[in-house]
């Protein structure tokens, strides 16, 4: 990131930010070169940007499968390691096993979902980042990788779209 020429345009509201996204496209800046940062969730559709990819559901599914397999081990395999008949039940009774399968599936699935957010978002990350505290006060920021020869043009376009400020983005400890 340090080799890039990063600009940070701050907007007070969503409409000027959406206009700015359109203006950037008009100037030939690809969506991949722009990162939207906000203090409130803003869906991609609101700014007319393409859908963000997330692996969280895959982590969940993987966790559910691992949890189910762990439940199978606890419910079906462990009684066979040291067979003891309890309460006149079969060694591996099905109805009580369903409880174990359910709980283990849900447990590992939810842990995987939680870890999925961490892995997909690369948490924790304490390295310096381009950020300004005004964002958590409700501002919307467009962090864009700006070709050096277009800086003035882009700054003008952002200002015309309604940006409160456009400045070089500097990574800082947050």
């Amino acid at each position: 990131m340090t080799d890039k020429n990063l600009l940070l345009a701050i907007f007070e509201d969503i409409d000027p930010a959406a206009h700015a996204v359109d203006a950037l496209r008009g100037l030939g800046i690809h969506d991949e070169q722009v990162t939207v940062i906000s203090g409130t969730p803003i869906t991609e559709a609101m700014l007319g940007r393409k859908h963000q990819w997330s692996n969280v559901t895959r982590f969940s599914l993987g966790g559910a499968i691992i949890g189910f397999a762990s439940g199978c081990f606890l419910a079906f395999a462990t009684p066979n390691m040291y067979p003891i008949i309890v309460g006149g039940q079969p060694l591996v009774p099905v109805p009580p096993s369903i409880v174990v399968l359910f709980e283990m599936t849900m447990l590992v699935m939810l842990i995987s979902t939680f870890l999925g957010v961490f892995l997909d978002s690369r948490y924790p990350s304490y390295t310096p980042k381009e950020y300004v505290p005004e964002i958590s006060d409700g501002r919307i920021a467009l962090l864009l990788d700006c070709p050096g020869d277009m800086e003035a043009t882009i700054t003008k376009a952002m200002t015309e779209a309604g940006a409160e400020s456009v400045k070089r983005a500097e990574a800082q400890v947050i």
């Binding site: 203090g39 997330s54 969280v56 419910a75 462990t78 283990m104 849900m106 842990i111 978002s121 505290p133």
Partner: protein, 481 residues
């Protein structure tokens, strides 16, 4: 983007008056700039009077003496200090375990179920409710560990084999409890933490000193990029849908600890849903009590918590009270009609035995009082009345568990063992200690984490507006997800 519009009552002749009424009534229609809301929440966290610390010190002393001191004394001297005696081997520790697990259900119910159904009034107090789940489960865990006696052997319940490869019996209801309560504790703690991350980042941006360091670590570098919000939104949706069956499973499994036994009064096929509804009865009542306490003791909370929230919680409490009455009567009716002589003896013992007054108190506080008070909108919206009804409902739910555990254990199929052997023991100061511990944890949390999820409130405010149908101003809600 789905849009729904609902006309609200109390339309005034002057539409501007009505708009002003709507904005005053509904937090979602009364937006403030985000920076201002952040400042309100930060101020509520950092402004602490000396009274707060006095109460916290008293709570800490009760926890130290009533809970840990008494527990240590019991470990040193033995379980004879409890009220347990033959035939009542399960006594107040189990009553209090079920009581605290019941309280814990409110967090998930309020946060997850209302999130799934997009009930907008939930937004300012979801975190307060989620905290309740984690803190109440901690108290339930303490009761279970205390009931074990030799608590240092608790690891015997862990799913690890001994040297002969003998594993714990996963087909036993007690192991289901272990799995279900731990699953619920871990999931609800994760569900508490995920939506907290953006608010921790907000607090990080507005803090200095040790708070800055703490929030910086906990926020983990969150900036609010599109990708971060997307991952968070997907995860919260998965959690909201998945944690609900976990919530139902926990109290159902707790009920199976009783229902799976062939005892009069316990062997009931309806115990699962009956326990779940009972848990919601005590839990939602406790949420109402916490919300009212936050509203009147923390600075700036009058902006976030309004009469509309008391009203909504009051309606929930009324509906749940009706559901509880339905399940109670269903359970009672079938057992009464069955004609089993031992069950008849037990039911008679419930109503006319030495603890009969507790049985009647249970019905009065769980059914009569909520129904008499909560049907009235003005009474529902009165914080003193709502708090009192919530407190009484919790007393009533404690009584219900008391009737189910020690009182029911007095009557079984062996008449020579009948008798009321229950006496209050060391569980009483330990229970008072857990109540103090619960309050203390809440008090400390209120100083350390934003109790109001500001980003969720702002998201809700973005989705709400006032439209006009003819001359009638109506609330309009857009589905922004």
């Amino acid at each position: 983007m789905a849009i729904s519009a609902n006309a609200l009552p109390h339309a005034h002749a002057d539409e501007h008056d009505h708009e002003a009424y709507l904005r005053k009534e509904h937090l979602m229609l009364d937006p403030k700039p985000r920076g201002e809301m952040n400042a309100l929440v930060m101020e509520s966290m950092t402004t602490t009077s000396w009274k707060f610390w006095v109460i916290a010190a008293v709570m800490a002393a009760i926890v130290a003496i009533g809970l840990f001191g008494a527990w240590g004394y019991m470990i040193a001297n033995g379980l004879y200090l409890t009220g347990k005696n033959r035939p009542g081997y399960w006594s107040l520790f189990l009553v209090h375990t079920v009581f605290w697990i019941g309280i814990s259900h409110a967090g998930t119910f309020v946060s997850a179920l209302l999130r799934v159904f997009k009930a907008e009034f939930r937004r300012p107090f979801t975190r307060a409710a989620e905290l309740m789940t984690t803190f109440a489960l901690a108290q339930a865990g303490i009761q279970i560990f205390a009931h074990m006696g030799r608590v240092w052997l608790a690891y015997w319940m862990f799913p690890i084999p001994n040297q002969r490869l003998l594993w714990t019996n996963f087909h036993s209801p007690l192991m289901w409890d272990f799995l279900a309560i731990n699953t619920y504790l871990l999931s609800s703690t994760m569900y508490l933490f995920l939506p907290l991350i953006p608010d921790l980042a907000m607090a990080r941006d507005r803090s200095t000193g040790w708070r800055k360091s703490l929030y910086r670590i906990l926020a983990m570098g969150f900036r609010g990029t599109e990708a971060e919000w997307t991952h968070l939104r997907i995860a919260l949706n998965i959690f909201a849908f998945a944690i609900l069956p976990v919530m139902f499973s926990v109290h159902t499994i707790v009920s199976w600890d009783f229902a799976a036994a062939m005892r009069p009064g316990w062997s009931s096929t309806i115990f699962g849903p009956y326990f779940v509804v009972g848990a919601l009865q005590s839990g939602v009542s406790a949420v109402a009590m916490v919300v009212i306490t936050i509203r009147y003791t923390m600075k700036n909370m009058d902006y976030f918590i309004r009469k509309e929230h008391f009203d909504a919680l009051g309606k929930l409490m009324l509906i749940i009270s009706m559901s509880w009455a339905y399940f109670f009567f269903n359970d009672y009716m079938v057992q009464w009609y069955g004609g089993d002589k031992w069950t008849d003896a037990l039911l008679h013992f419930h109503e006319a035995g030495p603890a009969g007054w507790i049985w009647f108190m249970m019905l009065i506080t769980n059914i009569a009082i909520p129904w008499l008070v909560l049907w009235n909108k003005n009474w529902r919206r009165n914080p003193v009345m709502l708090f009192t009804v919530g407190l009484l409902a919790n007393v009533g739910m404690w009584a219900e568990r008391f009737i189910i555990v020690p009182v029911s254990l007095e009557i079984n199929r062996m008449p020579f063992m009948w008798g009321q052997t229950f006496k209050p023991g060391i569980e009483v100061p330990m229970f008072i200690g857990t109540v103090a511990f619960f309050i203390l944890l809440y008090m400390l949390a209120s100083r350390l984490i934003p109790l109001v999820p500001v980003w969720e409130v702002q998201e809700g405010q973005m989705a709400h507006s006032i439209r006009k149908y003819g001359k009638e101003p109506v609330v309009s809600v857009a589905d922004l997800e």
